[in-house]
Amino acid sequence: MPRHIKIGLVVLAVGFAVSLGFFVDIIGRIRSMVNETETTENPFTPPVTPLYSPTDPPMNVKIFFPTIDGDPLLRAEDQTIFKSAELVNRAKQILQKLQEGSSSQSLGPAFPKDAKVEELFISQKGILFIDFTNTISTNHPGGILNEQATIYSVVNSLTYNLPEIQEVKILVGGTEKETLAGHILLLLPLQMDLSITNVPSPEARGVAQQ
């Protein structure tokens, strides 16, 4: 083999090896970037204030969960929260119970697992505003009944147990949305609807406050 061809082949081989090295390095960097995860601990997060104090008395509440068979659409489950002085903290405890879900096999989740309550406040007219994260909408599987169950599990659980709350206005991602998944109108605050539950009449209301 002529000498110049040998030299050419050697140069090509060296070039190929160097390129391969770069390629492997770049792939490694991309992988490490993809796998990079941020720590969940944020040193700037304000300390979480407890929703109740140890001296608060227990309070029986009815939490409305969607039924698997859809008949009735919602079924009430007896649970206990603590009667904290702040109404908003009682409402937060009820929403926590809804988020935790029911242990019963015949009851399904009220809303998508990763949906969270961002903020919650009550107006002087007794309208409770709840701001959910966008995931309550984006991760909702859809269907009218399903959407009705999600919304009224929240509305009924709050208005049934906390008579100070007359109506519930649901916000999503900090803003007013027309619907959650295309069906139930959220532009106006919603009132309790027991006709879609196993709880017979609103007369039972108040018993839970004892």
Partner: protein, 479 residues
């Protein structure tokens, strides 16, 4: 050489005339805090000029018009502004300011470019003159007009112009000319984000804001197809929907050919339109980015459109009614636009089609929905016949009983025709039903989380049977 002389002369003439072009006079308002000055602007060499003397008279400033010196001097206290004919240089207390275009004096009238006001008069008077290039108005002093945002979209048989006025207003329509609609807004001044709306379709040729006479109006140039123009206020009279509706003879929203309807031996075909039904609006749920519920291979938006198209064919052939679809393609629509199609076309019946989803994979969850009766407040508050005007969200109450009746008939027919699937009647505050003012219902069919249901819903034969069943109920409703 002679051959070249004539074209060269023509070119020179064109150039000279071109550079001295003058456009027709246009109204040009200057808005002050409590008053306004209406001027006639002139366009010279593509620059907008305003008559100086009218402005100075309005501001009541002393001036000297030195004809021989060809200068004009205006005073305000100790401040003196001097301008010279055919010069872009103005002097304010001997400080020179250069304007983009020269000052003109023609026919004993001084004409000033707009930057004379923004640069010169602002310094002379201490009042700020604000001008946005491309517009035909100036705001002076502390005037902060509400912003006007105009958007237009085609919605099948209607074209909707949405106006967002930054504060409550009243809007009325003037149609002296059938090919033009003047939309009058009782707020003046307004600050339109854009002067024109970049939209034209089969109904609307152009839309432009015009306040040349100091009154706020939007002028829409229309085609011959427009039958009516209506305004619907919303959001505390800050938002207005102006709907241009197509003439009844051409109300079919899409020219795509209709699939031949399947023959239905069980119901005798009707040869004449039923007296109670003239227009039926079908609403295929979801669309565009809003897919609705999904299975591994199917999307709710596609199934509802397929069923709606079949139902349209069946209704037209068997009942001879006009059938409109809120959407006949894969487009995103909000609920308000869907109910507007029904309201604006004076529909006698509105049917919205949806597919269900249940966490229970064995469930064949179907329902017929009507609007929840007490949504928006107690029913008694609006039950009086004397009550003529309802808020938009109570539109459903005008036909609540008829809605319940068609829901009942549909449940009856669907339960008979599709054994094994339950169709309970339900009530919910549904966005698509809240403002419809005719009998309106929503049908939710099947469960896409149930693989057997999903296969059935995709089957063209099932869709045809479903459509025929719905027609049976509609026919009974119309009798």
């Amino acid at each position: 050489m002679k051959r070249l002389t004539l074209p060269a002369a023509l070119c020179a003439a064109l150039f000279i005339f071109g550079t001295l072009t003058r456009a027709a006079e246009n109204g040009f308002p200057i808005y002050f805090e409590s008053t306004k000055l209406l001027l006639k602007s002139e366009t010279v060499n593509r620059t907008t000029y305003l008559p100086l003397q009218e402005i100075i008279d309005f501001l009541r400033l002393p001036y000297t018009d030195a004809v021989n010196l060809e200068t004009f001097t205006v005073r305000n206290g100790n401040t003196r502004l001097v301008l010279t004919r055919n010069s872009g240089l103005i002097s304010i207390n001997d400080q020179i300011v250069l304007l983009r275009s020269p000052i003109l004096r023609e026919n004993n009238r001084w004409l000033v470019p707009i930057d004379f006001l923004t640069l010169g008069l602002t310094k002379l008077t201490g009042t700020t003159f604000r001008y946005r290039p491309g517009t035909m108005r100036i705001f002076a002093g502390n005037v902060s007009p509400p912003e006007l945002v105009m958007t237009a979209q085609s919605l099948g048989a209607i074209t909707r112009l949405t106006l967002r006025v930054g504060s409550p207003a009243r809007v009325s329509i003037n149609r002296d000319d059938p090919k033009r609609a003047s939309i009058l807004i009782d707020r003046s001044p307004l600050d339109p984000l854009r002067e024109t709306v970049d939209h034209s379709d089969r109904l609307v040729q152009s839309i432009a804001y015009d306040d040349s006479d100091g009154e706020s109006r939007i002028v829409a140039e229309l085609t011959d197809d427009v039958a009516d123009v209506r305004v619907t206020p919303a959001e505390g009279n800050e938002v207005f929907f102006v709907d241009f509706t197509r003439k009844a003879a051409t109300t079919t929203p899409d020219p795509t050919p209709e699939p031949p309807p399947a023959p239905k031996p069980d119901v005798p075909p009707s040869t004449s339109p039923t007296s109670r039904l003239r227009v039926v609006v079908l609403d295929p749920g979801h669309g565009g980015l809003d897919t609705g519920t999904k299975s591994a291979t199917l999307m709710e938006k596609d199934l509802t459109l397929a069923i709606a198209r079949k139902l349209r064919g069946a209704l037209q052939s068997r009942l001879g009614v006009t059938v409109l679809l809120t959407r006949d393609s894969d487009v995103l629509m909000d609920n308000e636009a869907r109910s507007a199609v029904a309201n604006n076309n004076q529909a006698n019946l509105f049917i919205s089609l949806h597919i269900g989803y249940s966490a229970n994979k064995m469930d064949s969850g179907s329902s017929v929905f009507a609007m929840k009766e007490d949504f928006g407040g107690p029913v008694s508050a609006t039950s009086s016949k004397d009550r003529m005007f309802l808020p938009w969200y109570l539109g459903y109450r005008s036909s609540a009983q008829a809605s319940s009746r068609i829901a009942q008939l549909l449940q009856d027919e669907l339960t008979k025709a599709i054994p094994g699937w339950k169709f309970p009647l339900r009530k919910a505050p549904l966005g698509v039903l809240t403002s419809t003012s005719m009998p309106s219902i929503v049908i939710e069919i099947g469960n896409l989380n149930n693989s057997v249901n999903a296969q059935t819903l995709e089957d063209a034969g099932f869709q045809t049977r479903l459509a025929a069943t719905i027609v049976n109920a509609v026919q009974r409703f119309a009798q």
